[in-house]
């Protein structure tokens, strides 16, 4: 127990609590001064932070339901195909998770490129339009959302496939005998039984999407254009690790992120929980 406890306390628990405490101070090289809620007051007036919160919420609203729906749909289509098809698709959709966000972000940077990108080539030849996906305020955030969705499907699909295999086939047979078609069976038999798996997917995806960072850092210029893709974690990174290195102000942003996350988690548990 002890070998785990020491790093847990030193590198996990302590920084977390220290972060909360830090947000109430003004930390400079020479002295540290208690400033109460000043950091939070500044945040309330900070326009770029408001953008960050709004964009982060947009990401969650765009990504999480789509990931849930698509992965559930894929699992439902793949499940009846038998074991080998299941493991093939499980593999196919988990490979992007393996590749990691940095590698994929670089490929997407190329695909979404204004002049040399694959996507614009397709758009050009099929629809005759050329869109600067990452350079326009109205398309930048949805483009990033699609990128995030493309590598988020692997884990939910595995979870849904495992949950589907836990449903006794007798239930479906009984419903079929009672005259329920496949869609009705899915809606009234399968879906309610996948409730806890769905809850898990919703909660983990929400937690993940709230931390969107890599795509913003690598695919956009400082969360641009015009703050359109700035997220909370990106804002934290920028505040603390680029000049003027304002650590306590970033810690206050982190604390607010924590509060926001807890609220969302509670709502999700209430809504979907037993």
């Amino acid at each position: 127990m002890l070998p785990a406890a020491v790093p847990f306390v030193v590198f996990v628990l302590w920084p977390l609590l220290h972060g909360l405490a830090m947000s109430f101070f003004d930390i400079r090289l020479a002295e540290t001064e208690f400033i109460g809620l000043d950091n939070y007051r500044n945040l309330a007036a900070d326009e770029s932070f408001r953008y960050a919160i709004w964009n982060t919420c947009c990401f969650v609203v765009l990504v999480v339901p789509v990931v849930w729906l698509v992965s559930l749909g894929i699992a439902a289509v793949v499940f009846p195909l038998g074991r080998s098809a299941q493991s093939f698709f499980r593999f196919a959709f988990y490979v992007p998770v393996i590749a990691g966000s940095v590698c994929l972000a670089m490929v997407w940077m190329w695909i979404l490129d204004d002049h040399h990108g694959l996507l614009n080539y397709l758009c050009n030849s099929l629809l005759g339009v050329n869109i600067d996906w990452l350079g326009r305020t109205d398309t930048a955030l949805p483009s990033l959302a699609v990128v995030v969705i493309s590598w988020s499907l692997g884990q939910p699909i595995i979870i849904f496939l495992a949950a589907l295999s836990g449903i006794p086939p007798e239930l479906h047979e009984a419903a079929a005998i009672d005259g329920a078609g496949p869609l009705r069976r899915f809606w009234y038999v399968t879906l309610p039984l996948l409730r806890s798996a769905s809850l898990f997917v919703f909660v983990t995806q929400t937690l993940g999407v709230f931390q969107v960072f890599v795509v913003v850092l690598l695919l956009t210029v400082n969360g641009g254009p015009a703050h359109a893709t700035r997220t909370v974690v990106y804002g934290m990174y920028e505040t603390a690790f680029t000049p003027p290195y304002d650590f306590d102000y970033a810690a206050a942003q982190g604390t607010l992120l924590l509060v926001l996350l807890s609220m969302v988690a509670v709502v999700q548990f209430r809504w979907l929980g037993r």
């Binding site: 830090m22 972000a105 190329w110 080539y121 493309s150 690790f241």
Partner: protein
């Protein structure tokens, strides 16, 4: 009728999703064999017409990127060292803590368990600044210690281990006790062998987490010699004056292939770990 429609919609969905998931990887790997002018070409070359290893040569030989020696090889080694250390440590600490939480009765057990679950759910980024200050105070910036220390303990691993070890029957452990087994014997010869699938899952997930970690490694390394693969590869893009597509794709491919090999070898542990975590949680 309705049946046929759902069938087609479902298959279209599956096809589009599969393309979205896999096409970027194809584009990455094929792109790594293209020179800059071929990569920029419109219409794009679906298959590299003049495949070349030039990008890999640039990546792995000295002088072209930095004056340092063979940067990509060093990054690969850094990533391997960091991921292996984190994985070994995560397995050790998770097994011990998971065993204590599952089978030992002590005061505050429930509290400790909830502390673990809570930190598992919380994003690490919230603690980023204090963690960084701590590492600065320890003078561990640009060192393996700084890259590894924050991940010595893996809350998800502890959780997984506890869930798994709870299912080992108590009778087995008390029977061994009666036969005179020491605490250590019980743990080593009875509990650990039975928890093998969970051990595999923890090893794999901590390895993958460390291999694909980005934000922390970005912050804690300043010298190119200490970069890990994701950091180094991303800096290829931001520091080179003109964005060399082929080179970036080659870097990404080098970062991807080792992890793919690990995944192919240990696939069943991945599946097991994910479903245990979800369905028992």
């Amino acid at each position: 009728m309705a049946n046929r429609w759902t069938f087609w919609i479902a298959w279209t969905l599956l096809g589009v999703a599969a393309i979205m998931a896999l096409a970027p990887l194809y584009w990455m790997i094929s792109g790594s064999f293209k020179l800059q002018q071929d990569a920029m070409q419109m219409p794009p070359e679906w298959f590299p017409k003049h495949p070349t290893l030039e990008n890999y040569r640039k990546l792995f030989t000295a002088g072209d990127l930095w004056s340092g020696h063979r940067p990509a090889l060093r990054w690969l080694a850094n990533s391997l060292i960091v991921a292996l250390c984190i994985s070994i440590s995560a397995v050790t600490t998770s097994a011990l803590a998971g065993y204590a939480l599952a089978k030992k009765r002590f005061r505050g057990r429930l509290f400790v368990f909830w502390a673990v679950v809570t930190t598992m759910m919380l994003p690490r980024q919230v603690a980023l600044m204090p963690l960084y200050l701590l590492i600065v105070q320890l003078d561990w910036v640009d060192s393996y210690a700084g890259l590894i220390a924050p991940y010595l303990c893996f809350p998800f691993g502890i959780f997984l281990m506890r869930q798994f070890m709870e299912q080992i029957p108590d009778e087995l452990i008390s029977a061994a006790r009666i036969d005179g087994a020491t605490e250590w014997h019980v743990f080593w010869y009875i509990v650990l062998p039975m928890a093998k699938p969970a051990l595999g899952a923890v090893a794999i997930f901590s390895f993958m987490g460390a291999w694909n970690e980005y934000l922390w490694q970005l912050i804690v390394t300043n010298r190119p010699e200490m970069y890990t693969l994701p950091v180094g590869v991303s800096k290829l893009v931001s520091t080179l004056t003109s964005f060399d597509l082929g080179l970036a794709m080659a870097g990404a491919t080098v970062a991807f292939l080792p992890m793919l090999a690990v995944f192919v070898m240990f696939q069943r542990y991945f599946v097991k770990g994910i479903s245990v975590g979800a369905l028992k949680g």
